[in-house]
Amino acid sequence: MEQLFDLALFNSALRMLTPILLAALGGALCARVGLFNVGLEGLMLIGAFSAIVGNHYFGSTGAAIAFSIGCVSLFALLFAYLCIHLRANVIVVGIAMNLLAAGLTTFSLRTLFDVKGAYYNKDMVGLPKWDIPLIKEIPVVGDILSGHSPLVYLAIVLVAAMWFYFYRTIGGFRFLAAGDNPLAARSLGIQVRRYQYGAMLACGVLCALAGAQLSLGQVTMFTEGMTAGRGFIALVATMLGQSGPLGVAAASLLFGLMDAFSIRLQGLAMPSHFTQMVPYAVTIAAMFFFKNKEFVKDAQSSGTSSR
């Protein structure tokens, strides 16, 4: 048992869940305005890659992250334009975006760095690990919470910020309104599209951060396909968390813990195939507690007409 639960579990879980959480927050923003973003994986991959490119050329992690945000935002804008203005199917664009990201990063890896597979440079400096002064001293908690990359803390801050934005600010209120009933929002002169663009753009920024945490925070390198399905897990976290910041955070936490936990299960006699199922199975089990609304209620409240 002691093998299963140790400090490293929580410490590692916190690190591992950060990219998922960041992307899932982005997914939640999109979902709130009616854009079901299956392209998180691709955006995150572009984020991870451009962070490394930025780091390579500018030699600073700050600039690298800024560069990454810039790049991913471009793709997010394209995404938004296709879905919002040209009314392409969001899911199709999302899938195509994943394809595009995979091809483009691999190709650019080859053209920019003349390597295949991975770009790794010993001289490259990743994100610093921050020791949080006071927290660090607390016995158990300190070991878990301290010594992570700034993006880990940023992710936590962003959860709070998003909560504040949604439930305390006027902008956030209108944002939620635009998603809740776009027709009504438009009838009040609320520019629904603007919020949709904003959500997609913010999602791009968040995915850039998620990617940067992966390629500069957790490791300092880029490898092809290094997001390894995290974008889809983020999507699940978005849905499981019902697109609310706290829910999404809880879902990501659940997933991160289960993932870290499943690794530890590998040591025990079970074949790794089954241990790897654990996070997914637990997530499904968790959904029995976060039920859907009954479809009748759901359909009734989503019906635009009330007469």
Partner: protein
Amino acid sequence: MDRWKKLAASLPGPAAAIALGLLAGSIAIAIAGGSILETYAEMWKGAFGSFYFLTSTLNRATPVILVGLGAAVAFRSGFFNLGAQGQMALGGLAAALTALYVPGPGWFVAIVSMLVGIAAGGLWSAFAGYMDARFRVNLLITTLLLNYIATLFASYMVAYPFKDKTGSAAMAQSQMLDNAIWLPKLFKGMPAHVGLLLALAAMVALYVYLTRTVSGYEARMMGGNPLFAVYGGVRRTPLMLGVMFASGGLAGLAGAGEVLGSQYRYIDNAFVAADFAWTGIMAALLANAHPIGTAIAAFFLVALQTGGMGVEMNTDVPLEIGDVIQAVLILFITVKFVRGFRRRRKEGDPNGAAV
């Protein structure tokens, strides 16, 4: 006849989109340093350039069409099935194991294997449907998550208990099937096999089902407005289970067809790597879940892929740029396709979010 006029009116759109997509692709090719014309020529050849390539494209399209039809029938009924990947894996695995262990004449075993494949995919999918209908567990999430569980399970099965221990034994794959069981090829020496005919038959059947039958009508009404359907006496749970079974069953059949007609064994990860599932789902979405449109879209998407293979083989444009061109084309064409097919909605529904 009105319909044809509408269709004709919607044609210039897609044409312009394809042109735009090709233009955008040209930029990608130019950056990669390839010759644009040559690259497109090779792309065409890779997809349709010879009878071999054409049948190869058709062969690859077979599972994609089936998956797409499966996705389509679910979408039409308002259920979002993103679980084709897992359903296909289980279908393929079940078919392979049946083919290996059930005795009997080849044709018989082949048919039984396909039925078992359908049942495996269908039940897995219906399981997700059941959880939604009975416990209100979101279908979208479960189907997505069940993918991971199914593929991991299938991997385990062929990595351990049913691993092929003949030959090098280094692969996670089942044993090779007896060639009496193999689905016949449509043309000697060409890749396309009888599964393609099954896929086309499924397409026609689905079209007839949706447009002509009572149950198909009820399914469509359920998709358009579930309350209306329930009000009108459609029983949601049985319909949901049935539709999800059909949807997963088609994905299972896709897996079974690949195993029995193409790969002759279940190979770990082969379906996932080829991205049959997502391509199929994309085809269904592109065509607004119209069965015939789905098949056409599937064929088109696959042609982009096999065309990309042609490019990789015969030019110096690297493999990845093939992906990029493909993605760019899809992005642009999606737009017009969808706009062309979609009739204008009152006040514009929230941006075509399919959920």
